[in-house]
Subunit: 397 residues, 2 copies
């Protein structure tokens, strides 16, 4: 058990990221594999040909699926029911989440029963109890770990979870007690691939999501620094602030709507163009709500920061790059995460953080502040700003 | 905009409940109505007769539904699809949630754009974006209100939402900024009544949930007290602590499992018996984790507190009453909420709080500390302890 420090010894500390890990699903899903699956079940139609054409031009090298190419999921003649999709998530998704969590806990250097909070997120499963309840048992977390399972936010989920965990841990600091939060994002969109292909065949509406989403789980460990032990990793980043913005008039731009066989992704073509407006506006809102940065003009210049942008699609990254006046190299880690794995929904931003952390370990020159941005359902832009410890703002911003 | 107080003026304040309201659905659903609906669509079977027998013995006077007795939902020959259930939740549930929220905001005395956090919960809808996103727009909340939509916790959801909001607001206190959280629970289980009747007819498994659940929305406003304005209601209760406990070996006791037409409730007969074990154990854990109470023996005597227990069913209340050594009068508000509305899932505990607040307004003699307890999926017991302001522990516990 971590002993709480006496109140007066508690420095006004920020919340830090002290563990990161991601696990993409084990089986590669290239453009060819998707084409073979689609053609096995559906004859050629205009929408199928258009989708497969887009699928060859996504600039994704490969995505990953929990299903091997010979798995029955791809070959069965019928569409899996919603409860079968739930069972497949439990059979393949939860072990992936557990592996990513265990690796992040190992990276942190603490032990599972010192985890005080679990903030989990997925948009590719709905269950009561949720996968967070199952994960607690698998990982051996305490019986009164404070669980939060987030719903309804889609690709913004990784940063939403960070925002919630950040404030929960500041709440523990206010109470003078140690707190360590495990954040777990787990997405298995390929369980719905068969029903999405079927809907597209019936409606003849081209579904771009088919070409973008991949399976993955990713985890972070956050610490409020109280009761820090030598075995625990030093902070990788400190969280300065998180800020969500829901944009007016965007209700219909992106949905992941429930239906009898699962969820159907609706992604409006205007998302890249919208990104170009939302990300700069959300960035301004993030900086102006960060006390230590708000008052200086130079802090509103995007290129003064490192960036991690959720790759909704290649055009989304290009739009953000242009709107922020960045270079492709500034978004290198985001482009890399997109090329090798595609859009893995709420887990993607954590994969990008992992890449940036590993690059930094190998001496790559990075700016001391990093801005994260991800567009989720609503349209809600989730943003966060992190700083390297040791830079001026290590202590509370 | 609420002006933040200069840091040194901020008393170590607790988070308070400053607004409460609930809205049961408008249409009474008595035992007779359910029987008429069931017999209209299904011939007599052993499970139907058993369920209708239980339905006459629940001791619920009536439940409420968003659907009037002549609504097409009860009369249509086919089972509504999952997406139709989603549309019905949006058509009837969100307006109920909006009405309860508006009433709680009015009770609080503040204005919508001073709401900094929205913590929403439901287990009777799954949507991306979630109903929290829609509610923000309907209520005119700020575009960067910090949203949390909780999933996977069922009947424990009302207290889970309070726990999360409590800690988020303590996080704002740690940052020295004003915070007001709107908590909204919204449950429309009768959208799934037709599919539940159909499953029971096919499986011949008697489904007790059919007899217990009712439609309702309920809302609370919480404040961290910073920047308090004269227009704002004084605290009704202060939150001392919230504590969840997930019990080993209870994974299979209660589920709300997804299927093609919605969710299917599985409620094990052992829940009342389990309540008798879990509630006392969870109460001990709550008190021992509340710094201002943990060290005195007398604080571990249940009858020293007021109680609000989620009425999973009548037998659940009786089991809790016996296990805690309470009288029926001690749980009067919980029994009343059960009789008039039934088990309205995550909203029920807020209905009970509203009853206790109204009784207190009319001079009823109540103990100055109130314990809340609700068993949710997992099995997870969510507990909280509140105190009347002005009693010794007004300031931070």
């Amino acid at each position: 058990m971590i002993e709480p420090l006496p109140t007066e010894d508690i420095p006004k500390q920020s919340v830090s990221i002290v563990g990161i890990a991601s696990r993409c699903a084990p089986h590669k899903l290239g453009a060819d594999e998707l084409e073979a699956i689609a053609r096995r079940h559906y004859s050629s139609t205009p929408s199928l040909e258009k989708m497969l054409e887009i699928n060859r031009k996504t600039r994704i090298d490969h995505r990953y699926s929990v299903f091997s190419s010979d798995h029955e999921h791809w070959h069965r003649p019928t569409i899996p029911s919603f409860s079968e999709c739930d069972s497949l998530f439990k059979e393949y998704g939860i072990p992936l989440a557990s592996a990513a969590s265990a690796r992040a806990i190992q990276d942190w250097g603490g032990v599972p029963d010192e985890i005080t909070h679990l903030v989990a997120v997925t948009c590719t499963n709905t269950a009561h109890p949720g996968f967070d309840s199952v994960l607690c048992r698998k990982l051996g977390l305490k019986c009164n770990v404070r669980r939060v399972l987030l719903h309804g936010i889609g690709c913004g989920g990784g940063i939403s979870a960070m925002r919630v965990a950040h404030e929960l841990l500041l709440g523990s600091t206010q109470q003078g007690v140690p707190a360590r939060a495990l954040i777990v994002a787990c997405e298995v969109p390929t369980v719905f691939a068969r029903s999405e292909l079927d809907i597209m065949d019936k409606t003849q509406d081209v579904n771009v999501a088919m070409c973008l989403f991949g399976d993955c789980a990713a985890a972070l460990v956050l610490s409020n620094g109280i009761g820090h032990k030598a075995s625990e990793q030093r902070p990788i980043w400190n969280i300065l602030n998180c800020e969500p913005t829901q944009f007016d008039g965007t209700e219909d731009i992106a949905h992941f709507n429930v239906h009898d066989k699962g969820y159907h992704a609706i992604i409006d073509k205007r998302i890249p163009q919208l990104t170009g407006k939302c990300v700069p506006a959300g960035f301004q809102s993030l900086i102006s709500s960060t006390p230590s940065l708000a008052l200086e003009e130079k802090n509103y210049v995007p290129s003064n920061y490192g960036w991690a942008v959720h790759p909704g699609g290649y055009a989304v990254l290009v739009a953000a790059q242009d709107a922020l006046g960045l270079t492709a190299d500034d978004l290198r880690a985001s482009y890399d995460a997109y090329r090798d794995g595609g859009n893995t929904i709420s887990t993607t931003i954590i994969r990008i953080l992992e890449k940036l952390r590993d690059e930094h370990k190998h001496g790559s020159n990075q700016k001391d502040k990093l801005v994260l941005a991800a567009i989720g359902h609503g349209i809600t832009l989730e943003t966060a700003i992190l700083t390297r410890p040791g830079s001026s703002s290590y202590l509370h911003a």
